[in-house]
Symmetry: D2
Subunit: 162 residues, 4 copies
């Protein structure tokens, strides 16, 4: 059962820029993170976008939808910023593709001490294999359906919307 | 849906001893690893054993079985050495408890650079939530039934036994 | 020969805030960094300030000067932001204390992958032991007198001013 | 003032082998460690040996002496195992080269969490620049002359021999 991982940016993939002191995007950390995971099955990595999810617009979300549509793999993990993960999940949910699509991300960048990124990536890969067709958000040990999830920004967690 | 994590030792949990240059057991890294995962649901951590799995005997495996039996949580992740993970899975599989039990571990200790431990832990937690009752081994992006898995030591991977 | 380490903040000591996505100050990382260094001699750690050095004013620099004056230890390392490290060094240089004072910092925070912080801290501790009385800036393998140094911000390095 | 760094192996440079569970030598970590240090001056890195220092014999120590002799750089850091660091320092001390030679190493490998390696490397680089001609051991915040040092193995520290 082969998996496709689509990088779109977000906190997960941020790097520190020593010249400006800002967190920025460079080459995705996903190939390194997945090498570390020692995954033995076939795996496609697609570095589609490198954006803070607050900077994503409808065009970007359509790009993500198209990448899911044309994916030969039926099991897809999307690494995405947390702030508008729900909005992208809704676009994908309404598309109703016959695939299992799991959005994940991180509260702390992969390259920063004590990051949750690798845990979330592992958790999301299992969800992509085990959940049925549909669109899900998998963060910090929980999995949510695309139409019943919201980010609680004050607490820094995802929770049911209803 | 609350989870129980049972530490039994294994590569996942090894520390470096600066005085002898050996890899040894100390306090489990699991509480730190789980804090990093930022899990928001209730979680029980049970540091049952701290053994290299080659040093486990039938008595130890019965202790693990008893810990699973008395667990109030139905979803259980066991962190275990890889060398005899299959043997413990068989003991648990024959016990046929009405619970979802997932054994995981690491090829590189959590405290060593480029460890797969956190990925495997995330992957195993999702398996424990999403698989039905039964006993599974979840390692490096794959999940196996307890009675169809073996470790290929030359390659350092788990694979189907049949 | 005992050493005093004075934390004042700066890039070296920045933490990632998962709720805002900003780099902020919390408890200093210096006690952890120094434990890791396995220093066997007596060591005083003084967490005086926690500031971005662009936010330091003359009052803060006088606080640092006073901390150096009242230090019972003659060998002092100050962990400081790089942007105004030179300005603080000048205040201390003009004070002409009979002590060896070495300012250091980091281009990448201690808690971020590939940080230079621990290297610089080791380098600065040796400078504080081996240089004569005076005020120095020690960064990225070079040591400068307080009155012949400048930060080249475009290149992210310290260099001679003359 | 340019520096030569000579790798000879030792705890500093050990890697974890996932197939055997042993700590072994592979490509030296020194190029990565030095890139991280962001050193701006010219630097020569010489990966001469990759040995546990308990496996070093007189021939190996003569190879290290010859590498120091032919070094165009007068300031030399040797990364070495701690167990026979003193013996190599004595060979180099008796050679009485007109150079500053500093041996350093680590109590915990560079690639393992909480390693002292990068601190020691920074400390040793400063010693190589600031000490006069001679042979020194620099470990964990202290610098020793080659003929007045011993490793206290029970405590895991270096101390004066007299």
């Amino acid at each position: 059962m082969s998996l496709r991982i689509i990088a779109t940016g977000g906190t997960f993939d941020k790097h520190y820029d020593p010249l400006t002191g800002n967190l920025v995007f460079r080459d995705s950390v996903l190939p390194a993170a997945l090498a570390r995971a020692r995954i033995t099955e076939p795996l496609q990595v697609d570095t589609l976008l490198a954006l803070d999810s607050l900077d994503m617009n409808e065009g970007h979300r359509q790009q993500i939808r198209e990448a899911c549509e044309r994916s030969a793999e039926q099991h897809i993990v999307i690494v995405h910023g947390t702030d508008t993960m729900r909005e992208t999940a809704q676009v994908l949910g309404h598309a109703a593709l016959p695939k299992t699509i799991v959005l994940t991300g991180a509260m702390v960048p992969y390259l920063i001490d004590e990051s949750d990124a690798l845990f979330n990536l592992g958790f999301a890969c299992a969800c992509a294999k085990l959940c049925g067709h549909g669109v899900f958000i998998a963060m910090n040990g929980r999995v949510f359906a695309w139409n019943d999830v919201q980010k609680n920004r004050a607490a820094g967690i995802f929770e049911n919307a209803r």
